[in-house]
């Protein structure tokens, strides 16, 4: 096998546990050369595990001087090591992009020698792509914790998105499995870049040809299920980072056991907590697009999301006093909180009712999950119920329906990575 193929195998394999894959949200436009990152994201393919392939996601190297227990690239792990040259990464990116395999590059790295040495190479790659290849596609760069401010700032001029992983949701958890790391070394660069982004924004009002600085913003990732944090803790951390560092995304990665030599971590063979991960994404979605607060999503006495039902349904079942909602009069904000109705169908309802009151048969056809929504709404021809329906009964009904339909449907898993 050619050496480059072997490197690609090793360094793609090591990078795949990073779940961020979005290629959207940039403002970079093509100016007569190649590439355009001004569109919303595109998934060019899907792996057999159902995750989106949008970017060439690789490590520059999987050599690392650190020994984080949850990481395949850790120093003490017995794996094959490799490192790309700057030119190899550039060639792969350009040739894959020209064939429409990818939306761009996601570049991360283990740390060889020290943070600045590694960061400096990453910088050379992104600079070469932009200036020599005149490439305008998407670039997501992993910042190396501990790298100097100048290098990070310089890189920010060439990339679309930057991220730096929290890895473990809480400081205590992180200390257990990666004693050399701390959350401060993540917060600091995030804050630094956030600062620069807003500086550039205010400056660009004055300057005509504004330079782009990390136009697609920042993101981070937390490993879920390696350490004992509750969902409430995890979502609070996410909320904090959304509020204080204006992150575009927080990713949740269900821990896949890769090591037997650390008894603090789940053993090899333990199934990754896929349903829990799914619920966290749904909860995150509710925070970002449905105006839910963390304490509305997680029941304060339980601290965990319900694994059987999605968080919006769980919230509705806890609040029988708010239902049923009249589809023909309620506002948008209220309608999107109804289980089984998303933002698109809510918009349709609002538009369509201008032409007359909506009846059940119309709602059924409009793409809402009527079997689920029916317990929470009234429409033009609803039979008036006296008193509340028991929510325990509703829960049982819905669970039964979804069990029956699961037999025929492919396993329900949210397409999270779009």
């Amino acid at each position: 096998m050619e050496r480059i193929e072997e490197k690609l195998k090793i360094l793609a394999d090591a990078a795949k546990y990073d779940v961020s894959c979005s290629s959207s949200g940039s403002k970079r436009k093509n100016n007569g050369s190649i590439g355009d990152a001004s569109f919303s994201g595109i998934c060019h393919s899907y792996t057999e595990d159902g995750r989106c392939v949008s970017l060439l996601k690789i490590l520059l190297t999987n050599h690392c001087i650190y020994d984080c227990a949850f990481c395949v690239s850790r120093k003490s792990n017995d794996v094959r090591r490799a490192a790309f040259t700057v030119q190899e990464v550039v060639d792969l990116t350009m040739n894959f992009y020209r064939r429409n395999y990818i939306e761009g590059l996601f570049l991360s790295s283990g740390i060889f020698k020290n943070a600045d040495y590694t960061m400096e190479r990453l910088l050379r790659i992104v600079k070469k792509l932009r200036t020599e290849e005149r490439y305008n596609g998407y670039i997501h760069l992993k910042t190396i914790p501990g790298a100097s401010g100048e290098l990070i700032q310089d890189a920010g001029l060439y990339v679309d998105r930057m991220s730096i992983n929290l890895e473990i949701p809480t400081e205590e958890g992180l200390k257990m499995v990666a004693p050399e790391k701390d959350h401060a070394s993540v917060r600091k660069p995030l804050a630094f870049v956030q600062n620069q982004i807003s500086n550039f924004k205010s400056e660009s009002k004055l300057i005509k040809h504004k330079p782009l600085f990390v136009p697609a913003g920042q993101s981070t990732q937390m490993v879920v299920g390696a350490t004992p944090e509750s969902d409430l803790e995890i979502l609070k951390v996410a909320d904090d980072f959304y509020q204080n560092y204006k992150l575009k995304r927080v990713y949740y990665s269900g821990y896949i056991p890769i090591s037997s030599d650390n008894n603090l971590l789940p053993a090899i063979g333990t199934r990754p907590p896929l349903i829990r991960e799914n619920r966290l994404y749904q909860a995150d979605w509710l925070m970002r697009f449905y105006d839910f607060k963390v304490d509305e999503i997680v029941h304060e006495s339980k601290h965990q999301l319900d694994l059987e039902i999605d968080p919006k349904l769980a919230w509705a079942l806890r609040h029988p006093e708010l239902f049923p909602i009249d589809i023909n009069t309620a506002n948008f904000r209220t309608i999107i909180r109804i289980p089984g109705i998303g933002r698109q169908s809510a918009m349709k309802i609002i538009k369509a009712r201008q032409f007359g009151r909506l009846h059940e048969y119309q709602l059924r056809k409009m793409g809402i999950a009527y079997n689920r929504a029916q317990y929470f709404i009234t429409c033009a021809d609803s039979i008036i119920n006296i008193g509340h329906t028991s929510m325990d009964w509703v829960r049982a009904q819905i669970l039964q329906q979804s069990k029956a339909s699961q037999k025929y449907l492919p396993q329900q898993q949210l397409s999270l990575f779009v």
């Binding site: 899907y46 057999e48 595990d49 020209r98 395999y101 007359g356 492919p410 396993q411």
Partner: protein, 254 residues
């Protein structure tokens, strides 16, 4: 009921609308030349495509709705679904007669079908942006062959022109026997007879590939494999995202 027989083009469709109003015939069934089989009992009339008439209808639509909503009729037309096209005719007649935007009346059958068709065409368009795979030939041209369910090639030209400004490319729809060629200055539509088309289809190996083409295809395949996480394998989900009918065009699935 009268049958209008037209050439199957969008312009021809617009001319049918023109004819409806010209002749005050609103109970019309649209049929394309290709599928027309004379029906003894039905009245039929051949509608000749006329650019000026088509343009007047389109301008009228743009005035009654807005430009992007008017373009939705083009998008729905590309579905090639006779029911959707027949419905679209009904909707245009209503829009011109009632002067209101009934397209948003999702509680009504025709409007709902219109928006559902729009969504289907939109999804196919999105897939073609994602699933097109170019192969580089020895003369430096990047070419791709597709066979989308709906005729979405016209809807993705802009996307690829913006993206690949400095390379020559050709996207060929082998189901509908036409393609779009971009030569770094502009685009042109090319029609290729079935015979010649065989020549550009990669499996037939008439096109000489760039020396490095095989290498990058191989690298892409092995990247695709390495990035999969075995512990999370979920083929049902995989198939939902990448239906089998697209596989023969995807480098990583060949």
């Amino acid at each position: 009921m009268i049958q209008y027989i037209y050439d199957g083009s969008f312009g021809g469709f617009l001319c049918c609308v023109f004819e409806c109003f010209e002749r005050r015939e609103f109970d019309v069934q649209l049929i394309t030349e290709k599928v027309f089989a004379p029906d003894f009992f039905a009245l039929s009339k051949t509608i000749v495509s006329d650019k000026a008439k088509a343009k007047r209808v389109l301008d009228g639509l743009t005035k009654s709705l807005d430009a992007s909503r008017a373009k939705d009729f083009f998008r729905v037309f590309l579905s090639e679904d006779p029911i959707a096209i027949q419905n679209a005719l009904g909707l245009i007649i209503q829009i011109f007669q009632k002067k209101e935007n009934i397209l948003e009346n999702y509680g009504e059958e025709k409007a709902l079908y219109f928006s559902q068709t729009l969504k289907k065409v939109g999804r196919e368009r999105h897939r073609m942006k994602a699933f097109i795979r170019f192969e580089k030939s020895s003369n430096g041209m990047f070419f791709a062959v597709i066979a989308p369910d709906f005729n979405v090639l016209p809807l993705i030209i802009d996307f690829f022109t913006k993206r690949y400004t400095d390379q020559t490319w050709l996207i060929y729809d082998e189901k509908r026997h036409y393609g779009i060629l971009y030569d770094k200055t502009g685009i042109s539509e090319i029609e290729i007879s079935e015979l010649d088309a065989n020549a550009i289809i990669p499996s037939n190996e008439v096109v000489v590939l760039d020396l490095e083409e095989q290498k990058y295809q191989q690298l892409w395949k092995s990247y695709f494999k390495s990035t999969n996480i075995e512990a999370r394998k979920n083929m049902k989900l995989h198939l939902r995202h990448v239906p089998k009918r697209y596989w023969r065009y995807l480098t990583e699935k060949k």
